[in-house]
C-alpha cells in the first residue's frame, strides 16, 4: 500500500527548489535585500526574515543540492524504498534549511536550525530496524543539541541581558571584546559541530551514511554549508570588526580537520563513510579559508581577505556540487549492488558506464584536479595561504607555512583517497557476485548525476565568472573584491591579486590540453598500426587469476597507513606465523586506534553512565535515609542563615 498522495513529494520539492534558487540568484546578482517581520515567534521581538546577498548565495547552493536530491528521489522504486517514513520529512528538511538562511533574529535562526536537525534525525532513523542506524541517529541528535546550546550561548552573548535578539539590534551595538571572544568560541563549537570540525566530527561519518542516499547527499553536500553560513553570519556580520587572534582557532582546527578527516577516509572501507569523512575534510578547508579571511580583515588587507573569502564561498559551492554527485553515485552503487563495502565492489565501469563516468568527474573534482571546479577554490585557497606571510602578527606569520604544508598534504591525500575509491569500486574485475550482476540506475537518477557532473565541469571552466558573481557578497563581508575579469589577458582568467602575481586561466589550459590530446591522437593513429588485440592480463603466470589477487581498498591504503597511520592512529600490523611444519595459514591483523573517538566520545559516555550508576543508589534508599537527606539540607540552610549577618 503506497500512498499515492506522497508520490508528488519529490517533483514538487524539485520545482520549489528551482523557484527558490532562481529567486536567490536574482537577489545575489542584483545585490538587493528583502525583509519581512512576522508577528509570530518570540513575544516582544517577533520573527524577522531577511534575504541579503550572503543568504542568497547560500540559497543558490542549497537549492541546487535540493533539486539534485529530489531528481534522484524521483527515481526511487516506491514499492521497495521506505517512502512513508522518508517522503513527508524530505520537504520539511529542505524548507528548514532555506528558513535558516533567511532568519534575521536569534530565535528564528535557532528555531529553523534545530528544526533542520530534527528533520534530518528523523530521516537518519528512517531505517530504524538497523541498530547501527539508531545509534548513529542518537549520537547525531545529541551532538546537534550540543551545537544548538553553543549557538544559544553565542546569541545570548550577542543579544545581551536586555534580550535584543533581532540581528539589526545586535549589529547596532556589538559586544565588548571579552564577550565577543566567548561568542566566537561558542559559534565555532556550534557551527563546527554541525559541519564536522575535529573533535566534534565523529557523528558525521556515522549519521550521513545511515540516511537514504539522496538524504545523505543533502546532509553532506548542503547541510554542512548551512553550518558554515551560520559561522559566517556570526563571525563576519554580527560580531563587528574582528581581532587578529580570532583567526587562530578556525585555521588550526580547520587544518587539523582537513588532514585527519582524509586519514580517516583513506583507511575506511565503507564507501559512504569515506565520502562522509571527506566532507569533514572539505569543511576543514573552508574553515581555514574563513580563518584567513578573518586574519586579513583584522589587518585591513582587504584584497587578501577577498581572496580568502572567495576561496571559502567558492569551495562551499563546489563542494555542494561534487559531494552531492559522489553521494548520489554511492547511492546508485548501493541501489545496483546492495553493498557499501569497497572490498566487495569492482568492475562497475563495464556494468554502470554512465554512473561510472559521472562518478569519475566527481572524484577528479573533489581531488582538486584541473580543469574541474574543485581546483578553482583550492587554487584561490593556496593563493590566500601564499599571501599569509604578509600578516604582521608572529603567530599567523609562522603558521602560514605549516598551514600551507597541511593543505598540500590534504590535497594529495584527497587524490589518493579518491583514486582508491574509484579504482576499487569501478575499475578492475568484480570482487563479488552482486558487483558482477550490477546494472545501471534509472534514467532520472542518471540525469541528476549528469546535471551535477556538468555543473562541476562548468564550475571549473567558468571559475572567474563565479568569482565575479560573488563580488556583492565579498564586499558585504570583508569589504574587498577580486580583480574583475577585464584585468586579465583573457576574459575568463581567474586572478587572485593582480595578473602579474598569480593567474589561472582554466579555459585556455583546458583548450590546450584538448588540442594536445587531439593532435597526439591524430598523429599516433596516422603513424602507428591501428591493430589492437584483447589478451589476458599478466598476473605472474598464474593459471586462473581470481579477482582476489586484485588490490582491495585496504591493501591500497596499506602504504598510507604505514606512513601516516602510526602517528595519527597508533596503527600496528601484527603477523602471526604458525610454528614450522604447521599447515595453518598465517594470521595478519591490523590494530587502528581512534584517539579522538576514545577521548571525546567513549570516555565522556562512560563517565556519564558511571556517575549515573553511582547516583542510582539514591533511588533505593530507606525512608529513614531520605529523612536524613531532608534533615541535612535543613541544617545546612539554617547554619548558612545563622552565619551570614
Amino acid at each position: 500500500m503506497r500512498r499515492p498522495a506522497l508520490a508528488f513529494v519529490y517533483p514538487l520539492s524539485a520545482l520549489a527548489a528551482v523557484v527558490l534558487g532562481v529567486v536567490d540568484l536574482q537577489v545575489l546578482l542584483s545585490g538587493g535585500e528583502a525583509a519581512i517581520h512576522l508577528p509570530i515567534g518570540l513575544p516582544t521581538i517577533g520573527f524577522h526574515l531577511r534575504q541579503d546577498t550572503l543568504s542568497a548565495f547560500f540559497g543558490v547552493v542549497i537549492n541546487g543540492g535540493v533539486v539534485a536530491a529530489s531528481l534522484y528521489g524521483m527515481g526511487f522504486d516506491r514499492a521497495k524504498e521506505l517512502t512513508p517514513r522518508v517522503e513527508p520529512l524530505f520537504p520539511l528538511f529542505a524548507a528548514a534549511m532555506n528558513l535558516v538562511l533567511i532568519a534575521d533574529d536569534a530565535y528564528a535562526f535557532l528555531f529553523s536550525w534545530e528544526l533542520m536537525s530534527l528533520a534530518s534525525w528523523a530521516l537518519v532513523v528512517a531505517r530504524h530496524t538497523d541498530p547501527e542506524c539508531r545509534r548513529a541517529a542518537h549520537l547525531y541528535l545529541v551532538m546537534a543539541a550540543i551545537g544548538t546550546v553553543a549557538l544559544l550561548f553565542a546569541f545570548g552573548g550577542l543579544a545581551g541581558p536586555a534580550g535584543g535578539y533581532a540581528f539589526d539590534t545586535v549589529r547596532a551595538h556589538p559586544p565588548q571584546p571579552m564577550v565577543a571572544a566567548l561568542v566566537l568560541m561558542a559559534a565555532l563549537v556550534g557551527c563546527g559541530s554541525k559541519g564536522g570540525l575535529i573533535p566534534l566530527h565523529a557523528w558525521l561519518p556515522l549519521a550521513h551514511p545511515a540516511a537514504p542516499s539522496h538524504v545523505s547527499a543533502l546532509m553532506s553536500g548542503v547541510m554542512t554549508k548551512v553550518a558554515i553560513y551560520g559561522f559566517v553570519r556570526i563571525a563576519f556580520d554580527l560580531l563587528g570588526p574582528p581581532d587578529w587572534w580570532w583567526a587562530l582557532p578556525p585555521i588550526v582546527l580547520g587544518a587539523m580537520t582537513a588532514v585527519l578527516g582524509l586519514l580517516y577516509a583513506v583507511l575506511d572501507r565503507d564507501l559512504k563513510r569515506v565520502l562522509a569523512y571527506s566532507t569533514i575534510e572539505n569543511v576543514g578547508l573552508i574553515f581555514v579559508a574563513l580563518g584567513l579571511a578573518l586574519a586579513f580583515r583584522a589587518n585591513a588587507q582587504h584584497a587578501a581577505a577577498a581572496v580568502a573569502m572567495a576561496a571559502a564561498l567558492l569551495h562551499v559551492l563546489n563542494h555542494s556540487w561534487f559531494k552531492s554527485l559522489l553521494f548520489l553515485g554511492a547511492g546508485a552503487i548501493l541501489h545496483a549492488t546492495g553493498r557499501r563495502d569497497l572490498d566487495g565492489l569492482g568492475g562497475l565501469i563495464h556494468r554502470m558506464p554512465r554512473t561510472a563516468a559521472f562518478f569519475l568527474v566527481g572524484a577528479l573534482a573533489i581531488s582538486a584536479l584541473p580543469p574541474l571546479n574543485g581546483f578553482v577554490s583550492e587554487w584561490l585557497l593556496f593563493q590566500a595561504v601564499i599571501a599569509a606571510p604578509a600578516l604582521p602578527q608572529a603567530a599567523l606569520h609562522f603558521a602560514s607555512p605549516a598551514i600551507g604544508a597541511m593543505l598540500a598534504l590534504a590535497a594529495a591525500l584527497a587524490a589518493a583517497c579518491f583514486v582508491r575509491v574509484y579504482g576499487t569500486a569501478f575499475l578492475g574485475r568484480p570482487r563479488s557476485a552482486e558487483a558482477a550482476g550490477a546494472h545501471d540506475v534509472p534514467l532520472v537518477q542518471q540525469a541528476a548525476m549528469g546535471g551535477l557532473a556538468f555543473l562541476c565541469i562548468l564550475g571549473g571552466l567558468m571559475g572567474s565568472v563565479l568569482a565575479t558573481a560573488l563580488a556583492p557578497v565579498l564586499d558585504k563581508l570583508v569589504g574587498g573584491a577580486l580583480p574583475g575579469p577585464g584585468s586579465g589577458p583573457t576574459p575568463f582568467s581567474l586572478i587572485a591579486f593582480d595578473p602579474a602575481r598569480s593567474i589561472y586561466d582554466a579555459p585556455v589550459i583546458a583548450l590546450f590540453v584538448a588540442i594536445a590530446s587531439l593532435t597526439s591522437l591524430i598523429v599516433v593513429h596516422r603513424l602507428s598500426a591501428r591493430r589492437t588485440r584483447r589478451g589476458p592480463a599478466w598476473d605472474c603466470g598464474f593459471p586462473d587469476p581470481s579477482p582476489a589477487t586484485q588490490y582491495t581498498a585496504s591493501s591500497f591504503a596499506q602504504p598510507l597507513r604505514r606512513v601516516y597511520g602510526a602517528a595519527a592512529f597508533a596503527a600496528q600490523e601484527t603477523v602471526v606465523m604458525p610454528p614450522p611444519g604447521d599447515i595453518r595459514p598465517a594470521r595478519f591483523s591490523v590494530v587502528v586506534v581512534d584517539h579522538l573517538w576514545r577521548a571525546f566520545y567513549v570516555a565522556p559516555g562512560r563517565m556519564v553512565i558511571g556517575l549515573s550508576e553511582r547516583l542510582n543508589v539514591l533511588q533505593f534508599l530507606t525512608i529513614r535515609r531520605y529523612l536524613v537527606l531532608m534533615f541535612v539540607t535543613l541544617v545546612i540552610l539554617l547554619s548558612i542563615a545563622a552565619v551570614t549577618t
Binding site: P43, V125, T129, A145, G156, V608, Y626, M630, L634
Partner: protein, 478 residues
Amino acid sequence: MIHAYQLVVLIPYAAALIFVAVPGYRVGAAANVVVSAATFAAGLWLVVGERSVGDYAIVDEFNIVFIAINTLVGFTTALFSASYIGHEIETGRLSPSFVRFYHAMFQAMMGSMNVALIANNIGVMWVGLELATLITVVMVGLYRTPQAIEAAWKYFILASVGISLAFFGTILIYLAGQPALGEGVPAMTWSLLQAAAARMDPAILDLAFIFLLIGYGTKVGLAPLHAWLPDAHAEGPTPISAVLSGLLLNVALYALLRFKMLVAGQPAALDPGPVMVVMGLVSLIFAAFMLYQRRDIKRLFAYSSIEHMGLIVFAFGMGGPLANFAGLLHMAMHSLTKSGIFFAVGHIAQAKGTQRIAEIRGLSVTHPRLAVVFALAVLAICGLPPFGVFTSEFLILTTTFAREPWLALLPAFGLLIGFGALLMRLQDTMFGEPVGPAHHVNASSVPMMLHLLLVLAAGIFLPPVLVAWFQRAAELLG
C-alpha cells in the same frame, strides 16, 4: 453575587460530596468530566474577570496563571481518566470497589488545589495544599499492590514531615507580620503581608523562608527532598501521575514563589535567589543523571519532571523580568507537555501490558498514531522546536549567558545530559522490531492532541494578550 473564585472552589467540593454517593463507575466518570469542564469554565471566567482582593480570597495577575493551567489540565485529565480507568477495570487491574471513591477524591483534590491558589490567607493556603497532598497519598495507593502501598507509605511520611516544617514556616511568617499588622487574620493575609514586607524583621523572614523552602520544596520535588516523587508517579494510576506532575508541583511552586515575593520585599533579608538557583541546579543535574538508569517508563518521566522543576526554580531564582517570564512560560509548557506525555504513557502501558522500558519496542510499527503523538510530546519536553518548551529554554539560557556566562554552562550541561537519556529511551521504545503483546487500546487522543496543539501553538505564536498577562505576573515576582 457569586464570584468566580468562589465557583472555582465550590464546584469541585460540591461534586466531591455528591460523587461519594454515586456508586457506578460509568456515571461517575461522565459526571467527573462535566464537573471538571464546569470548573475550567469558572477558571476561564476568573481569568477574564476583574481582579479582586478579599479577606480570604485573592485574584491577581500571578495566581490566575496557575488557576488557568490547573483547571485546564484538570479537565483534560478527567477526560483521560474516564477512558483509562474504564480500561483498567475491564482488564481487571482495578476492581470496582477500589475505585469507589476515586471521583470523589479527584474532585476534592482539585478543590483543595484551587483553595490553595485562591487563598489570601497563608494558613488557608497551607491547609488547601496539605489536604490535596494527603488525598494524592491515598490515590497513589489505589492499586493496592505491595509496591503501590510502599510508595504511598513513603509519600505519606515524607509529606507529613514536609507539612510540619511548612506549618512552622507559616507560624514564623505570622510572627514576623504580627508587630506590623497586629494579631489575628490580618497578619496572615498575603496582600497586607506583601505591603508590610519592608517593615518585617529580616532574621525571622530568613528563618521562615528556609523552613518554607524545605516544607514546600518537598512538594515541588527539588533534589534532596524528591524521594517520594518517582515512586508516587510510577505506582499510582496514570491520571494521578499526570495531576501530580502537571498540577500539584506547580501549586507547591506557587506557594514557594509567593513567599519569595514576600522575602524579596525586605531588602535586608537574605536574597532567596541564589538558594533557589543552587537547589534548582542540583535538581536539574541530579535528575538528568538518574534518567540513564531508569527501567520503568513512568519513573523515567517522573525524574524528567524533577529536572524541569529544577530548571523552573533556577529561572525564578535568577529573577529579572525576562527570566521570570521564561520561568512562568516554561512552567505552563511543562505541565501541558508532561501531562500529555503521561496520557500517552498510560495508553502505552495498557497497550504493551507493562511499564518496563525493556519490554516496550517498535511502537512506531504496532501503534503508529499513538507512537507519533508520544514521540512529538517527548521531543517537545526535550526542548526541540517547534514546541513551546524550546521558546522558554531559549529565553532562560540566553538571558543566563548574557548575565553570567560561566553559570549558564551548568543548566545547559544538565539539559544536555537529560536530553541524551530521554532520546535514548525514546528511540528504544519507538523503533526496532516490536516485542511482546500489542493490545488494541481505544486511546482517547483528544486530551493528548489538545495539549500538544497548545504547546505547538505556544512555540510558534504567543498571543500578545497572553504575553502581556505573563509579563505583568513576572513583574510581580520581582
